[in-house]
Structures are given as C-alpha cells and as structure tokens.
Symmetry: C2
C-alpha cells in the first residue's frame, strides 16, 4: 500500500540562486561551458564548449534509470538547446568507450545532423558496435584521433592527453578557444604504472601548468574518497595469490567494458597455465574488438570454447564472465539460478567479484552471492581483498592534478551535486580561491567574459529524456506516475453496460496486480454492488452523462476499496451503452 | 522495455543437499531449532525452539520488501508450521524493539492464539505502540521481563542476558531444554563502555562457558566485517567536535529507533547549551516512550517546540529528525524538497547523517544529500567522520563471544546466506570444528538427538507472506508478476463492441503507463485498425467465441505494438456484445 507519488524528480524545488551567480553578459563572443548532462548524476555526460557560433560537444552518454522510472531503458541528454544550432557544431569528442560517455550517440548524433565524431580507435569501435545494435545500417561520421593529435575544429584547436581509466585509449581534452584554454579531464585516475595504452600522460599534463589554462573541468566521481586510487599494479599481487591457491576453476565476474582488468587476468591465466573461457555476449564482443585493435594481447590458444574447457582439469580453467552487479540475466545470475545452459558450480570453484558494486545494486549482489554460495562456490570480493581498483581519481590525486595544471578556474564535473561540492573542497585545498570554483547544475551556463568566469543564472533545457524500447521522449512523468501507481497498487477495470434509458445492466470487473481474486470472490461481488449502486443512485430527471457516471463509479469504488483493503488501485470505469 | 520476469524469488532453484544433512530422526522428543525467517535475509526474524510438544518462539519480525515486490508494505514469517500446534506455544520471546524483531507481532500473535509475550518493558511498549497502529483496540498478553529473570515456560527454563545494541533493553536468551542449553544472542555487539541500560552482560556470558552450552545461535549481520564494532563512546569525541565547531543549527538525521544515539545527542545538546526540537512522528513517539520508561534521560526544558526554537539563535538549536535513509516523505527529504511546513535550511546549518546507509538506499541518500547541499546546508556523514557505530558485532567480537560461551555447536542466524557463511568462518577461527557449525535455510529443521546436532533435509514452509495494506497473503507471485509488467510496460485496454452476428462495431482503446498518447494519435489509430482486422479475419462459418476473439486481439496487438515500439504492455481485450 505504499502510496505512489509522481516520480521523485518532479518534486525537486526550483534551484535557489547561488552566491556569485550573474545574468548572461549578452556578448555574442563570450566563452560558454554548458553541462547538458552529467552534473547532477553519474552518467548522461554531455558538455558543450561554445564560443560564438562554434560549438564542441564533449561526450554523449546515457544514464541508467532510477527506481522511480519503471520500464525506462535509459536516460539521454536533452539536446533542445542545440536545435537550430546544428550547423554550429564543429565536432563531437568522445573521451572513452564507456556507456555513460558513448551511449546516447546512436540516438542523438542523427538528430544533431550527423556531426563528425572524434575519438580513439577503440572508442570509435565501441560506438560503431552500439550503433549497430540500436540503428543497424545507419552510418556515423567517425574519425580516429591519437592522443598526440592537434586538430582544428572551427575556431578551436583541440589536443588530447592520455589518461588512465579502466578502459584503454581514454583521453582528456584540451580546447584552445579564443578566450583561453579549457581542459576537460574525462574520467581519469593517475596511474603511472599502468600499461602503455592506458598511461596518464603526465608530461603533457605538467606542460599545461605553463600554458595559462583558463578552466579545468575536473572529474568528481570519486572526489569524496580520501587518498589515492589504487593502481592496477597494486592489486595484481592479490590476484596472483588467488591463482596460486585455487584448486578448482576460477570464475571472474566483471564488467565487459573493464578491458584493462580483462587483459590483466588473461595475462595471469597464461602465466599460470589456465585456459580462458569468455562467457556473455558483451564480454565476447568487447574482447573481440580489443584484440582486433591491438588493445588486448592474447596468445593464440589461450581462449577456448566450452567444449575444450570441459575436457581440461578444473585447475586449468578460468571463466571470465559478466554479471558481477547481480544483473538478472547475466551469466553469473544464471549460474546461481542453475539456468545456464552448460555452466554450473563445481566443487572448489572460486568466484571472484572483480568490480565494485554500483550504488543501488547492493541487494542484487547479495542475492547473487547467496545463490553462488548455495551452489557450493567459494567467493572473494573487493571488500575481502584488494582485487579491484576503481577508475577515478580520489581526492589526493585530484589535488595533485590541479597543482600540475595550475588553472585559473576549476569547474567540477561528472557526478551528483554533492560530489561536485566535495570536489570543490579539493580545489580549495589545492589553493583555488572559492570564487574561482564554478559549480553548475545541468543546463546552467558558465560564462567567461574578458578572462572572468562565473556561473550565470541562465539555464538551457536539461530535462530527463527517457528511452523506452524504440521510443525516445514519449514516456514522460505522467506515464511514469501511472506506471508507479499500477506497480504499487494494480488496477481495476469496471465495465458497466448501461441502457439508453440509464438503467444499469451487466457489470464486469477485471483486475490485475490488485489482489489474488481467486481467494476473494466476496470482495469482487461487493465491488460490483458498489458500482451498481453508484449507477443507480443518480438524479433521475437528467440523462446519464458517461463522464459523470465514470467519475461516480471511480469515486465510490476508490472509497470502498480503500476502506476494505487500504489500497488505492487505479480504477478505470468503462461505460458501454447497450 | 526492460522485460519483466516474475519476481526473482520465484526463480530460485531447489536447494542442493549439503554435506552432513540427515533425515529427521523421527523421535518425538528431540530438540529442534527451526528458523521460520531471518536466515536468508536481514529481517523477518523468527526462530523456534521445539522439544516434543513444547515450543518457544523467539522474535516475530518483519522484512522490508525487495525491489521486485512493488506495492508490498512488508514481509512477515510464514507460520503454517505452527497451525494446529498453537497449544504447544509456551511463549513468544522478543529480544528487542526493532521492527525486524517485533514488526509481525500484531499480524501473527492473534493468528497464533494470542500466546504470552515476554520482553523488556521498553520492547513491550514498542510492541504495544505497533499493535495500536495496526490493530487498534486489540490486546496482547504481554509480560515484562528483566534481564536477571529466570522463568519456566513449559519444559523450558528461560533466562536472559543484557546485550549492547543501538536500542536499550536488548537481551539475548538462554533456553534450558531437556536436551541441553541453547543460547540465542539476538542482535548484539560487545560494548563494555555503553550506558548501564545497554551494557553487554559479560559476567553472565562468561559464566555460560562453564554451563556446557549445546548450541549458540549467533547474530551474523556484520559477520563479514573484520575487526570490532566501534563503541558509542568512541564516536562521542567526534560528535563533540561538531558541537564546538558549528555556528548554525545542527540537524541530526537518524533512525527513530536508535534510542541510544538519541540519548547521546540529547545529553551533548544539554552540555553545549542547545535546545532540542524533535521532528517526525515516529521519532516523537519513541522519545516519549523512552522518557516514560526511564530509558531516556532528558532535562525538563531541553526539548522545545518549533515556536520556542525559532525564537532562539541558531547556535542554540539542535533538530533531531527522521529520514537519514532518504525515505520519501520523512522530515529530511521534505526539508530538501522545500515541502516541510516550517523547517527549511538556513545559512550555516549542519546536517549530520548519524546512521549508516541500509543496502539498497544508497541512491536515495545521495539524492537527499544533493537536495540539502543545494538548499545551502553543510553535510557530515559517517564516511567522512566516525560518527556512527553500528549495532552488530563484527568478526573479532563474534570470535570473542564464542570463546566466552564455549558452545558445542554454533548456528549462525540473522542474515543472508552469505553472511551465515561468513559467520561460519568466524566460528571455525574460534575453534569450532566444521561439522559442528550448523547453517540452515529458512524452514530447514536443525535437530539435536542424544547430544548430536545436525541440519536435517526436512523443511517446513517458510514462504514469503506479503502484507499490503490490510491484506496478508492475498498478494502472491501472480499479482506481483502482473504489477511488474504493468510497471515496466503499462497496459492497453481494447474495448471491442461486436454484434451478435459477429460484425465488429466500435473499438475504443484506453492505455495507461504505456506511452504519452497525446503525442501518438497515429499509433492509436493503427492499433484500432489492427484490432478491427483481427476481429474481421475469422472463420466466418462459426459463431464468434469471445475467448477466441480476445486471444486474437491480444496476439495481433502484442505483435504490432512490439514491432512499432519494442514494448510489451499488458493487453486486456474486452468484448461487449451489442
């Protein structure tokens, strides 16, 4: 009987003006930085750099829905602001291949007039894959860049710098604008011991320190964590120990997109003489892409099929699979539920959860672990042993990064509002004065005028745009409110046949998700009686008006059902004149 | 378009037999320990101690629903096993006043023939309060016990020992049965510096070491955490620092049931000369109960009304309120959404999240913090500073407890299966041999026969029993499956009028939660055409059969809608013969 409100996001109050906010200057050629998404959540990253009639788009990502958005597949940035300005878009730069940075490309690139897309080869391959899934046959204008490139896009010179993240070929972006240099970190951590294709380009970053950077747009995802992020190198010893101690199969659950982790595990498997079985569609696809482009180094006979794996002794097998977040139909959950075609837990199997738990997934992951334990597996996760390094800089690294770049302004990006606030504290610690730290909401325009930066009180549209199946934007808060009510309370259809004279005829009641009616014949009967009464009990001198009749049925049944059950199902009266 | 399965719990495979499981002995007078709830989840705690025709029930708690149980208020234990055995129930012992231990009493005590309930005065008061909410006017047979009591219930002698938890007057239970002594810890941590009414009764626990305890039923909630739980005392210094540093109001968000924390904060407020405003219905109720029974010591003029508080300078005000878990309608969320009648954030306000985040609530809490930051508050939570001590023993304390009690068998209780497994590791470390650690599922009978304990392969019913409004058990997996489909995809009602001849007449389509139809008139029109076609295109020589017509409409529209939208709304065809 939890009563449904509308979705929670509709309840958010109008933002209060913050100290230092100013109106837009009105000058046509100021520099503007506009977050269309990513500054109030983790995901849906999309940042604009605009100077006059030149616009760069950095990232076009998706966000996974909150629990008050049932049925929504994901959320993409609102590009209303760019409508009519398609010709000003000089390019879309994608920093790396994770869905929260590439996921909206197939939906939005066509709508933006198919602008040229710039990213590294791996990122481009992942975008192309996603495009094939969502809009097969359609083509994008993709251009591969390397981190040493310097390209001219409209009035902007754009450079890149390699950053460490948990997918190779991730870059940060340096944009030379007529008003000064803007640096956008993308997702990053500082990992000096990472593999070559995933190393933080410290030389280039340090060189920024003498280039008079105007504004640093800085990843806030882990800004609230103290200390430094672990290096992939540091966790390797722990993972090695597992290799030397495990008598049965090793089953690694991780994200399909954590290519760096996948490489690490494959290399160890080769070293410790285990063959690798890759399970899960997205995992296989990504491994294929990584190998083709030379980002994954795998010896010829390392990866085996199930047929080959089953003939090997268990201590020579490693299974790499999806589903470490407890996703309902991914490989690990199917194993736990004994629903997998051929994989099941065997004695001495060790399941390793080699990723952190995404907030909101804790209970699903607990349920998954329960299932695997029940099937007889041993389990190790990142809380028991340091076997996972996140992909984002923590506070010490962030401070260090600011010290290297020495920007005039810092604009925290990528994260919930509270994460941005935490990152502002890091900037303060790094010596940036408070008035030069620019925290903007989604849609809120940050402007630089004559070297002076400030958050304006001007907001461009930055609403949730829901993708549900093939529909983009046709699911709105009214549809979601109905879905929430239907979910929490179910519904009751009252089909009332009424004669032209107004005499009520047959009443049928159909309910779904309300109560298990087979056990409640009495309740059904009483509901019918209530409906009949409400049809009978009317002003006899006027002709029946279907709208009035519907309202009467709805009101009287709502009252009756609430009294009887303390529930508020959606009541849908249907009047048929016979 | 996330396709709904049935609820996930319906997919759980049949449990595999575990090593050491045996059939029931069949002897009528063995000792049986049966978890009816609490051994596969956090919540719904209910444990039976049975010897022949004597049964003790320990705890009758509720569980909060999972996300695949929309509309369900909570889940209570399945008491089918006790039907027909009501006369054997010698008593219901409730260890402490939290909902996961008392919450099902109002629903189940009457169904169990109103057996006598034994608990401390505070716990009893909370049960009575809950009873008043759920079943006003009905009375329970409540008996107050003190931790020094020794009472005879049927063949059992029952004693208690005080334990530290984050509510005062919590006890563990010692049951002397003809087959040996069983100890049930309830929820506990070891906190030797706790206040007198919340202290761990170490003397009595140590004395158990020489009483030859047969089986220790041991809290597993925090079994997977290493080290010792913080003492309330240790966090006090940090909380004190906040008192000396805060210039504005202090707003403490915590659980209404964490009476120990509430006491601590009130005492500090008195010391630092702040008046306390209590906000939130459950918080006020619990403070009232605590004061009446002498568990909360509050000076006469400490607690003030809003009228009084608003006249004080902000640095003399402390607000204690509910909602630190991001609950939708609790005080903190209403403040963040500017929906609270009179409270709003003022400059220099400090909001303190003085409880840990319950798994599953992470995103709501992040959203709440975002809102409070936006309103201008500063925020401190337990991750930034040690200001919260959990209520459960961690692994070191658990090992220490086992060392004190020196039981022959350990039965991990209270937690997900994986928590029980973690606690089994603690027991192993404490020197209990593997075959004397008894892990049972809900419903699985543990038996002791001639001093030998084992988990049997016998399972009594332990299903989910859902409470939704006034209904208990009428919401089942079919209703939940429908709710899930309705939530994810919405529904489409097709009202088709058909002449007696079979000629299709008027078609009306009503949809809810499917798509925002105002923007899709074309889709609606096409759906009508599909429905008409499916009515027309039938074997003309046979009379129309409504069931067949409904199936045809459903199938053709399902196909059409999926093709057009990739969604699968619930389609409900209604045929009216006119």
């Amino acid at each position: 009987m939890r009563r449904p409100d509308g979705p929670r996001y509709t309840r958010r109050p109008k933002p209060l003006p913050k100290a230092g906010e100013r109106p837009l200057s009105g000058h046509p050629t100021t520099l503007k930085l506009i977050p269309l998404g990513g500054n109030e959540e983790v995901g849906r990253n999309c940042y604009l750099v605009q100077y006059g009639q030149d616009i760069l788009v950095i990232d076009l990502g998706l966000q996974f829905p909150e629990e008050d958005m049932p049925g929504v597949d994901y959320i993409i940035p609102d590009i209303s602001y760019l409508r009519g300005k398609e010709k000003w878009i000089r390019g879309v730069i994608i920093t790396h291949g994770h869905y929260d940075h590439i996921g909206a490309v197939p939906h939005l690139a066509p709508a933006l007039g198919n602008p040229p897309i710039y990213s590294t080869d791996l990122t481009n391959a992942m975008i192309a894959k996603k495009m094939e899934d969502v809009a097969p046959g359609k083509k994008l204008r993709q251009h591969n860049i390397k981190s040493r490139d310097r390209i001219k896009l409209g009035k902007f010179w754009v450079e890149f710098f390699g950053v460490s993240h948990n997918i190779p070929a991730s870059v940060g972006v340096i944009v030379e604008t007529p008003a000064g240099i803007v640096v956008h970190t993308g997702d990053f951590k500082i990992d000096e011991r990472a593999q070559a294709n995933n190393r933080t380009d410290l030389e280039k970053i340090k060189a920024l320190g003498s280039r008079n950077v105007l504004c640093l747009m800085l990843d806030s995802t882990n800004a609230k964590e103290s200390g430094s992020q672990l290096s992939e190198n540091e966790i390797e010893k722990n993972i090695q120990t597992m290799f030397t101690h495990t008598k049965g199969r090793m089953i690694f659950g991780t994200f399909a997109s954590l290519l760096s982790r996948i490489q690490q595990i494959i290399t160890l498997a080769e070293h410790y003489n285990r063959k690798v079985l890759i399970e899960g569609f997205s995992m296989r696809t990504n491994v294929e892409i990584g190998r083709q482009l030379g980002y994954l180094h795998v010896k010829q006979h390392t990866i085996v099929s199930w047929e080959e794996a089953r003939r090997l002794p268990n201590n020579r097998v490693l299974i790499m699979c999806t589903g470490a977040q407890g996703e309902d139909n991914a490989v690990l959950m199917r194993i736990a539920n004994r629903e997998h075609k051929y994989l099941q837990i065997e004695p001495d199997d060790l399941v390793i959860f080699s990723s952190s738990v995404v907030p909101g997934n804790e209970r699903s992951v607990d349920r998954l672990k329960d299932g695997l334990y029940r099937e007889g597996a041993e389990i190790i996760d990142y809380k028991m042993l340091d076997i996972h390094a996140g992909g984002h800089a923590k506070s010490e690294d962030l401070i260090r990064f600011i010290h290297m770049v020495r920007p005039k302004y810092v604009m925290p990006i990528e994260g919930n509002h509270s994460f941005l606030r935490q990152n502002a504290k890091n900037a303060l610690t790094a010596g940036i004065p408070k008035e030069r730290i620019l925290i903007a909401d989604n849609g809120q325009v940050v402007e630089f005028n004559k070297g002076q930066g400030y958050v304006t009180n001007h907001r461009v549209p930055a609403n949730y745009v829901f993708v549900d199946g093939l529909g983009i934007g046709d699911v709105n808060h009214i549809v979601l409110r109905d879905r929430k009510q239907l979910a929490a309370e179910g519904m009751v259809i009252v089909l009332a046949q009424v004669a032209r004279t107004g005499k009520p005829g047959r009443i049928d009641i159909i309910s779904r998700g309300f109560t298990f009616v087979d056990h409640q014949p009495q309740l059904l009967k009483e509901m019918k009686n209530v409906a009949i009464r409400s049809l009978t009990d009317r002003e006899p001198r006027t002709a029946p008006n279907p709208e009035d009749l519907r309202n009467k049925i709805r009101q009287s049944l709502e009252k009756f059902i609430f009294y009887k059950t303390h529930r508020l199902p959606m009541i849908i009266p249907v009047i048929v004149e016979v």
